[in-house]
């Protein structure tokens, strides 16, 4: 078990290194003039020159990459002497437009993104898995057809479209919800909930649809297993039989997928956050694209990549908890 963990961590470190290298190459090597991109829209030749020196863009590639990589672990400074800009570890870049380390900008926005992601995840897991199980158990029924048709729609409809329709119906036409304005939970829990409700629904819709289809397929498979017949022969109540013997084994692959999907959302639900004006990581990246603030775009991309890789390790390490056959030392 220890050597398995060590091997997984070592290979994950390799993947993380590749992610950092790839991001660096895209933004610093493949970009015609990184200093110009970093400088942004309102820029003077002197400023470009200043940024170029501070970033050390005249240095060889390996020196530049080493400075960037070591900045993540021990911090770095841009420029030298009294005018040097210090970026403490872990340094994921510095925005010359906002004059802030990129990581600070991201962590400022992370609570909103986490709120959106966690709320949506709870919603899509409950709705998706429940709909999938009922569809599998009643395969071929009107419920199955209806929910699978709806799921297809959920996957097919672009979520900005669903977001706009939902806003128009709930806020403008039916006036069920007030115009969503984000307030801190501690200030007014009801308003807080109302502001996040639509983003949760919109984001959850697509995932719920995918999870429903996946759960349905997996449960249909486990329902035909011999051990389900055994459970029935034991006289188990149907509900217990479905949850323990058909659903439980069907959920292992769903859990793996969930780890990835959730990690990917930590890079921000760009469209959902933008449509609902939520200041999360996705909105940060969207705005950075608008103002061409390269270090921010790069930082978000890098951290999103790291989140997915890390979640991948977590999923791998908890897999033996999900499937007893994967446990070492039980053979």
């Amino acid at each position: 078990m220890i050597s398995y963990t060590a091997r997984r961590l070592a290979s994950a470190a390799g993947v993380l290194f590749a992610v950092v290298l790839f991001t660096f190459v895209v933004f610093f090597v493949l970009t015609p003039d990184p200093a110009l991109s970093i400088c942004g829209q309102t820029c003077t030749p002197e400023r470009i020159l200043d940024i170029r020196t501070r970033l050390g863009l005249e240095d060889p590639f390996f020196v530049q990459f080493w400075t960037f990589l070591s900045g993540i672990f021990v911090g770095r400074s841009y420029g030298e002497g009294a005018t040097a800009i210090v970026c403490n570890a872990p340094c994921f870049g510095y925005s010359f437009q906002t004059r802030q380390p990129v990581l600070d900008m991201i962590t400022d926005r992370l609570p909103v993104t986490l709120t959106v992601a966690i709320g949506a995840a709870i919603l899509w897991l409950i709705v998706g898995i429940a709909a999938g199980v009922v569809s599998a158990v009643r395969a071929g029924s009107w419920w199955d057809r209806a929910s699978m048709g709806l799921a297809l729609g959920g996957i097919a409809l672009p979520n900005y479209f669903v977001a706009l329709i939902l806003q128009w119906v709930l806020v403008v036409k039916l006036e069920i919800l007030p115009f969503p304005i984000v307030v801190p939970f501690t200030e007014d829990p009801v308003r807080w909930f109302q502001a996040y409700l639509m983003p949760w629904i919109v984001l959850a819709l697509m995932y719920a649809a995918m999870y429903a289809r996946m759960t349905r397929a997996n449960v249909l498979e486990t329902l035909s297993e011999d051990y389900v017949r055994t459970a029935r022969a034991k006289g188990l109540p149907e509900g217990q039989l479905i949850v323990k013997h058909a659903l439980r084994p069907a959920l292992t692959p769903v859990a793996t997928l969930f780890g990835m999907d959730f990690a990917a959302l930590l890079g921000g639900a760009l469209i959902t956050e933008t449509v609902f004006g939520l200041n999360g990581v996705g909105k940060l990246a969207y705005d950075a694209i608008g103002t061409n603030d390269q270090p921010v775009i790069m930082g978000v991309a890098l951290l999103a990549g790291i989140a997915v890789v890390l979640m991948n390790i977590v999923v791998d390490l908890i897999y033996p908890l999900l499937d007893p056959r994967m446990r070492k030392g039980t053979h």
Partner: protein, 275 residues
């Protein structure tokens, strides 16, 4: 096992004119007009080649036919008609009054739960009991089927057992509620010959101790001669012939039975060649 609810010779199961069909009426009949009965303390061996309808007949008794199959005729268990009863109303019988042991013990046990948990589940499906009591009952059941160190093995998963041990677990699970009838569908087919002999001996011993009635399904006449008091030979969903085991083996009436018997290698044949 502590209680014997039936005295030897008392009729447990009577099947009359059982027909199992798939598809639209009349559909494909996989079992046609089959009749047999099983008494307490006795074993009926149902023999036939694959596709002869023997497994479908046993699933019909348990009410476990696939949803697209239809059963007609009469299946009376303890004088209660089972045909036409809903899945829900059959549930209290399954595991409690009649239990089943399947062919492949690996795929028949859920890999996600310990064997102990699966035996406990079978027990608590019918008896209210505290977890600690259920655990004790399950360990006793495992000991009854000669699983050594049952207290420790309770917490092991199916993949940690050998094929023969898994089948012992299946038998322990089937017997945990002390049913009156056990249906064993090819219980030794997936096992080595030596393990086969152990499992057959185990089933015989359990029957001797409890007076349980047994429906034993197999394609193997040698196995049937080991366990069955009565034999029913099937082919193409129909009965070919039936009767007391000694009679079938010594003077088979039907040419098909005779051919089956001739096709079975026997220990005496080997001895004749050797001598």
């Amino acid at each position: 096992m502590s209680t014997v609810t039936h005295t030897d010779g008392e009729e447990l199961l009577r099947v009359e004119g059982l027909t199992v069909a798939f598809g639209d009426d009349p559909g494909i009949e996989v079992v046609k007009d089959l009749s047999f009965s099983i008494k307490a303390g006795r074993t009926l061996g149902v023999v036939g080649e694959s596709g002869s309808g023997k497994s479908m007949s046993s699933l019909a008794v348990m009410g476990l036919l696939p949803p697209e199959a239809r059963a007609s005729g009469s299946i009376r268990f303890d004088n209660e008609e089972l045909i036409g009863r809903s899945n829900r109303s059959l549930r209290p019988l399954r595991g409690e009054r009649m239990a089943m042991v399947f062919q492949d013990p690996l795929s028949s046990l859920n890999p996600y739960y310990t064997v102990g948990a699966q035996i406990v589940e079978a027990y608590r499906a019918h008896r209210r009991s505290r977890p600690a009591d259920a655990r004790r009952v399950a360990i006793e059941a495992m000991e009854r089927v000669s699983i050594r160190d049952a207290g420790r093995r309770f917490d092991h998963y199916p993949h940690q057992f050998s094929g023969g041990m898994r089948q012992r677990i299946m038998i322990a699970m089937a017997l945990v509620c002390e049913p009156d009838l056990i249906i064993a569908d090819e219980p030794t087919t997936a096992l080595d010959v030596t393990v086969q002999a152990e499992i057959l001996e185990l089933l015989r011993g359990l029957q001797r101790d409890t007076g349980i009635g047994m429906l034993f399904i197999t394609h193997d006449l040698a196995v049937v001669s080991e366990v069955a008091h009565d034999v029913l030979v099937m082919r193409g969903g129909r009965e070919v012939e039936s009767g007391a085991a000694e009679r079938i083996f010594s003077e088979p009436a039907d040419p098909y039975t005779r051919r089956l018997l001739d096709a079975t290698p026997r220990i005496d044949d080997v001895q004749e060649v050797a001598s």
